[in-house]
Symmetry: C2
Subunit: 447 residues, 2 copies
């Protein structure tokens, strides 16, 4: 069985982009190569166990799906497990499971990635299989159309069966009125249903090329050995099309406050959410990305945060409440607030209380003490996340796939440490504006 | 001076699609021809005065603008007045004004049209000029780029200077989350600013072709004479590309109630609006379009309508309030409600009162008497509108440009007469649902 999953921006699915923390003094020596055909290779040493994580990242995601053909990127991700000209369906997955390895794949707005976690002696085999399916996938009718039904069922299970997901799709569409981030990663149902083999094939041809791939290897390996293996495998892949750039349309300036209400019989606990358009790290000026991350930490990412203390502890209005910053994106990111009312609290009262926390913070500003505390806590979480080898590889892969550099990762902790109280207050005042926001109310349906 | 204008769906700009009324017994004999190159010709007799209206309708509008290049259709409409290979800029317009004629042009989501109202002896000259600019337009940098600045100024004047228009753009984008009706006809500012000569040229080449044009002539003319003139002028135009069909993406099923709030210092009177997605005549099942037109008439298109009587007269909550049905579209239409509070009435109270009117109507249903009264009044307005020759020509041109037939116009009155109370109640229950609606609040900005 192939398990695939989607990375969705929504807090309802996937809370926060994994943070990353490596100070210059961390001693993490990341080696970067580029093969002759344009494939980039990143090797991250991790010698704690005889395990290696091998990932390939394609710089293409659902926001690159042709207009009217949403869901192609994710569809293709499924099809990548269907066999190639020389490798029958199932052989690659069997090779992973036979040695006790793990594999997975995920599609995001901006990238699509595949990985295996195996013992180091299987790395070259993994590379051989992965390089093979970069260009040799067999996309026959027999393979494509049954999988389309699988995806429609997946969508039905994920979205139609989840009131929160239904609302979340429209909230995303309201936040990004024009930009393709407003279209679901998995695609709109009526468009998935019409995707044809030719569409997928054209998309595969266009984007699954050596110049559009980054291979990330983390584990108990020597960079020069990995390079040699990569040259013997990926290095042999010949591009069939010249390098191309992604072009994305832009949204108009946000000026209208939006509210979305969705009522459903299946909702037992209401959910209140508000998302403010805010730049991603990639699009931010100076250190705004770092400041937004710390703002989220101060406001609502721990039990000592403003929102948690006020809303959950002191006033006991919510069973959960907090904030997050989605700063990992090629184009725009956003800043989110969320809360679930407790007991008899109405969503309206909860919203008022949440707004009071924000207004007070905007009025008095954050202080040095809470910034330091939030930063320490935030960095600890980030450092802890590095403990997972897959997460470690994923941090580099995602940053590099949206135009970032290795130093964006390795120097991030130092940049975070330089963020001042003024920096945090500046981004709060600049971005936490109702005109930039979509508020969503997930409500039980009255009988 | 060329005067161009936009047809915008929004009630804030342009209240209701002009209705049309011709019974089979009206004796209106419309003649339809097709030239060898595919140009369609419609001749409508109107012998009341020695005047003729000559219109050309291209089946292309802003909803056909390439994604990311919004505004092209409208931009091209401006450029159509800039001169051709053989006709210098200004000559066509001078020819119209010298004989005391009038001319104009307009761009909609689905079509772009040009017309002149002149004396019948000038008709062939008009056709000659119009046929010439179908394929011979000169689109040089010198012509295109200064006009782009003119359009940016036009947009600024129309939209940025109008709080209602600003909100209306986002309301339209919220109603049509995916379909291009969610993009302004004039285009998003940042996209207009990047339109290039090559973009316009490609668009002109693609759509300004004889097979994509309908010529409508209304006036004191004989059909066979008009046909002869059309053959001598339009008939000589050679297509440079083969016929193509427009392809439009579809929206996902609406399930989320949306509210948009826009506050602006320039707003003195708040405005409340609610638009429900509803099928256009073109997409409606059976007689739903006719029933929606009559529902709008019953609810709020005259001083005897439910909304007017309750909200404006009895409760005196609003200075204006009503409903309308936008049923003229190639794809989806919508049903609109609007109200402007009077005196100290809050928008919230007004909304509650409007909702009560709707709820009562849904609960008790409309009755035969009010249907008959509304139908009579509605038909009178429609018949009255026919008095304008330009409107007469425009009715046929717009219906034919969105896939309709001449009989859709000529038999409309008869179809309207067959609509029953049950038909009206059925569309009300089917389409006046909050999940299909976008509510907009235009509000003064608090100091």
């Amino acid at each position: 069985m192939v398990r695939t999953f989607l990375i969705l921006f929504s807090a309802l699915y996937f809370s926060v982009a994994t943070a990353f923390a490596f100070s210059k003094s961390s001693g993490l020596e990341v080696t970067e190569y580029e093969l002759d055909n344009g494939t980039r290779l990143i090797v991250i040493p991790d010698r704690r166990a005889p395990v290696v994580t091998h990932m390939i990242w394609y710089e293409v995601g659902s926001a690159d799906d042709p207009v009217g053909k949403s869901g192609i990127s994710h569809f293709l991700e499924h099809l990548m497990f269907k066999g190639t000209k020389t490798v029958p369906q199932g052989e690659f997955s069997s090779a992973v499971s036979e040695i006790g390895g793990q594999e997975n794949a995920f599609t995001s707005y901006d990238y699509t990635a595949y990985y295996q976690k195996v013992s180091p002696d299987a790395l070259e085999t993994m590379m051989t299989y992965e390089a093979d399916r970069m260009r040799n996938l067999v996309l026959s009718d027999e393979v494509v159309y049954p999988e389309r039904d699988v995806i429609l069922e997946e969508r039905s299970g994920r979205v139609d069966n989840s009131p929160g997901a239904i609302l979340s799709e429209f909230a995303q569409a309201a936040l990004f009125v024009h930009h393709p981030y407003g279209t679901p990663i998995i695609g709109w149902e009526h468009e998935i249903a019409k995707l044809e083999r030719e569409d997928i094939l054209a998309f595969y041809e266009r984007w699954y090329q050596p110049w559009n791939a980054t291979v990330v290897v983390a584990g108990d390996v020597l960079p020069e050995n990995v390079l040699a293996m990569a040259e013997r495998t990926y290095g042999k892949v010949v591009a069939s099309l010249a390098e191309a750039k992604r072009e994305r349309i832009r949204d108009p300036k946000p000026v209208v406050a939006k509210e979305l209400r969705y009522s459903d019989e299946r909702v037992t606990n209401p959910v209140w959410r508000r998302a403010f358009l805010a730049p991603s790290y990639n699009r931010a000026e100076a250190n705004e990305g770092e400041a937004l991350d710390l703002l989220a930490a101060i406001l609502g990412e721990s039990v000592t945060s403003r929102i948690y203390k006020d809303i959950v502890l002191d006033k006991a209005l919510a069973t959960s409440a907090g904030s997050f910053y989605q700063g990992s994106a090629l184009d725009s990111g956003y800043f989110g607030l969320y809360a679930t009312p407790r007991g008899e609290t109405t969503v309206e009262d909860l919203e008022t209380a949440m707004e009071q926390v924000i207004d007070l913070m905007l009025e008095e500003g954050v202080n040095q003490e809470e910034l330091d505390r939030a930063r320490n806590s935030f960095l600890k979480t980030a450092i802890f996340s590095r403990d997972s080898q897959v997460t470690l590889a994923r941090i580099f892969g995602s940053v590099l796939s949206i135009g970032g550099k290795v130093t964006d990762v390795t120097e991030w902790e130092d940049r975070l440490k330089r963020v001042s109280v003024d920096d945090v207050n500046a981004v709060a005042k600049k971005y936490l504006l109702r005109d930039r926001a979509v508020t969503s109310y997930l409500l039980p349906k009255k009988g």
